[in-house]
């Protein structure tokens, strides 16, 4: 549908407040951040990437990136799988499923600072988790001070964000016309075959959005990690946001900007790959 110049102009006018705002508060700051990541003390073309060298070779940075990627690669499939499972179980609308849906969405709207104390009560060294272990005559674990912290954070991530994807999947599932299932059953397909050959393929667009949201939320888990363990948590959960936050506190903006650019490039590459593969299907 080709639109005239006048139409385009109308479009731009409609979007103008949004564009101006987005430019001011999103794009411009990003450009400023980029300029801070470049070394401008000598203004020759051979050392502009000095900051990048420093940061990329820093062990702290490498740890942060590794942990963040590890968390995303482990957490996203886990939560998406769980969300799909819950959505399949709760796809019909009954009083019971409505209640269950409500319960699972609840953690999403509750301010995490309100309930973080309960998690601390469970997972601190003197907490319930270790108490339970002792009762079973097992060794107590330092939940927040060891590798286990990664799994505690994972638990928090799943607890908080499961509801969102679940709702998305329920919506996607309800968009599948029951006629497909009828046709499948008439042809003698088993429940399993129905799932793999009808449900899953028709859910592909939903999957895309759910994964997108899950990744964004995986980045946001920083707040929970910070509430649990502060600026310098255990090695296993020191993520790129911790790196950024600490450099922010130290007023070390160059390192902060460099890490921001690196994250930007990584995300950009991933998105391009996704778009490329989608276009290949169509």
């Amino acid at each position: 549908m080709k639109l005239s110049t006048k139409e385009s102009l109308t479009g731009v006018l409609f979007g103008l407040p949004a564009f101006v705002g987005l430019l001011t508060f999103l794009v411009v700051p990003f450009v400023v951040s980029f300029s801070q990541s470049i070394n401008t003390t000598n203004l020759d073309t051979t050392t502009w990437y000095k900051h990048y060298e420093d940061v990329l070779s820093s062990q702290t940075f490498q740890l942060a990136i590794t942990n963040t990627i590890r968390f995303v690669l482990v957490g996203v499939p886990l939560i998406v799988g769980l969300q799909l499972l819950l959505a399949m179980l709760l796809r019909r609308e009954t009083p019971k499923t409505s209640f269950a849906r409500f319960v699972f969405i609840l953690p999403l709207v509750v301010p995490i600072a309100s309930v973080i104390l309960v998690f601390m009560m469970i997972f601190l060294d003197q907490g319930y988790a270790n108490g339970f272990l002792q009762m079973m005559k097992l060794e107590p674990v330092s939940w927040l001070g060891s590798e286990a912290a990664f799994y505690v954070l994972l638990l928090l991530y799943v607890w908080k964000n499961c509801g969102y994807g679940m709702v998305l999947f329920i919506a996607g599932l309800s968009a599948i016309s029951p006629e497909y299932y009828e046709a499948g059953r008439m042809d003698g397909a088993s429940e399993r075959q129905l799932f793999f050959w009808i449900t899953l393929p028709l859910l592909v667009p939903t999957f895309g959005f759910v994964i997108f949201v899950a990744v964004i939320n995986a980045f946001k888990i920083f707040r929970e990690a910070f509430l649990l363990s502060g600026d310098y948590p255990d090695r296993s959960i020191y993520m790129i946001q911790h790196f950024m936050n600490n450099n922010f506190r130290n007023l070390n903006y160059q390192r902060l900007s460099v890490s921001a650019m690196v994250v930007f490039v990584i995300v950009l590459v991933c998105m391009l790959l996704v778009f490329r593969s989608r276009r290949a299907d169509v």
């Binding site: 731009v12 508060f25 400023v32 951040s33 409500f102 309100s114 980045f219 921001a260 995300v267 998105m271």
Partner: protein
């Protein structure tokens, strides 16, 4: 054979769901129940969560010994800060919610129903920036806001929140589902652009609008870093910042937690249907 298998399967599913629901509700319920305990009791049983050395572990203490409203009394009547910060939070969150929705509607409409140069590139850029952690834009934003001489005023928090990428993104997804034929019909009837927007497109997106309202409200309600950096004035901090400090005060911590959940919970209960519909819209392309 078949009915028996079905019954067992269904029983297992029910058990699984019940356990999952209980586990999900548990932190919230515990916070609520603990808010009725007195300070001494909290310290006695949960002291370790507040940095104290003592505090029994392995002792599951669920039901309060004494049902006391002291926590609430302290925080509501003795410390005037709380109510004041409560209203600050409401004001900021409401302003951001409304603003973001309005801007999102206009911007989303532009991206959804029009073509203009650099559209795709701009939108992709926005999406990627949306995914960035907060700290990326925090300092540059400060610089921009300082240039605009807004630091210290509530606008420094409200404006960046209003012009967030999420609003535009969500409304674009919702508006794309409005059939082009409807827009064409409007044009044939001679409607001007704004009329098409207000009378045809928007009403079809009611659920999306409602869901954006509540999502941005919740986001703004929980905002901590931006007020901290942009306001720099203890008296102006909203509830979310206060909540981070108060978690070290055993007498009122749980009560504060409950009180800060309530407004959001209320909004959620009011808008739940719309919220779910709105989220659904963003999926059905």
């Amino acid at each position: 054979m078949r009915p028996r298998k079905n019954r067992l399967g269904r029983a297992l599913v029910t058990v699984f769901l019940v356990i999952a629901c209980a586990a999900t509700l548990m932190p919230i319920m515990v916070t609520a129940i603990n808010s009725f305990m007195s300070k001494g009791e909290v310290l006695k049983y949960f002291g370790y969560a507040f940095g104290e050395r003592f505090g029994a572990s392995a002792v599951v203490h669920i039901i309060p010994e004494q049902f006391m409203l002291n926590g609430y009394y302290q925080i509501l009547f003795r410390q005037p800060d709380y109510l004041y910060k409560f209203w600050i939070s409401i004001m900021i969150a409401a302003a951001i919610a409304v603003g973001q929705t309005v801007i999102g509607c206009f911007g989303g409409y532009a991206f959804a129903k029009f073509r203009f140069p650099l559209q795709r590139a701009f939108f992709t850029l926005i999406i990627i920036l949306m995914m960035m952690p907060l700290q990326v834009t925090l300092v540059p934003n400060y610089i921009v806001l300082a240039r605009l001489e807004l630091i210290g005023s509530y606008w420094a928090v409200i404006l960046p929140g209003v012009f967030s990428a999420f609003g535009v993104f969500l409304m674009r997804q919702v508006m794309i589902t409005v059939p082009d034929e409807l827009v064409q019909a409007g044009k044939i009837d001679g409607a001007r652009a704004f009329t098409i927007f207000a009378r045809i497109v928007l009403p079809s997106c009611k659920a999306g609008v409602a869901s954006l309202l509540i999502l941005s409200f919740v986001d703004a309600w929980n905002m901590v870093e931006q007020p901290l950096v942009f306001l720099q004035n203890n008296y102006k901090y909203p509830l979310s910042v206060f909540l981070m400090d108060i978690n070290s005060n055993p007498g009122v911590a749980f009560a504060c937690g409950v009180l800060s959940i309530l407004p959001v919970l209320l909004m959620f209960l009011m808008f739940e249907d719309n919220l779910i519909k709105g989220i659904e819209y963003s999926v059905i392309k």
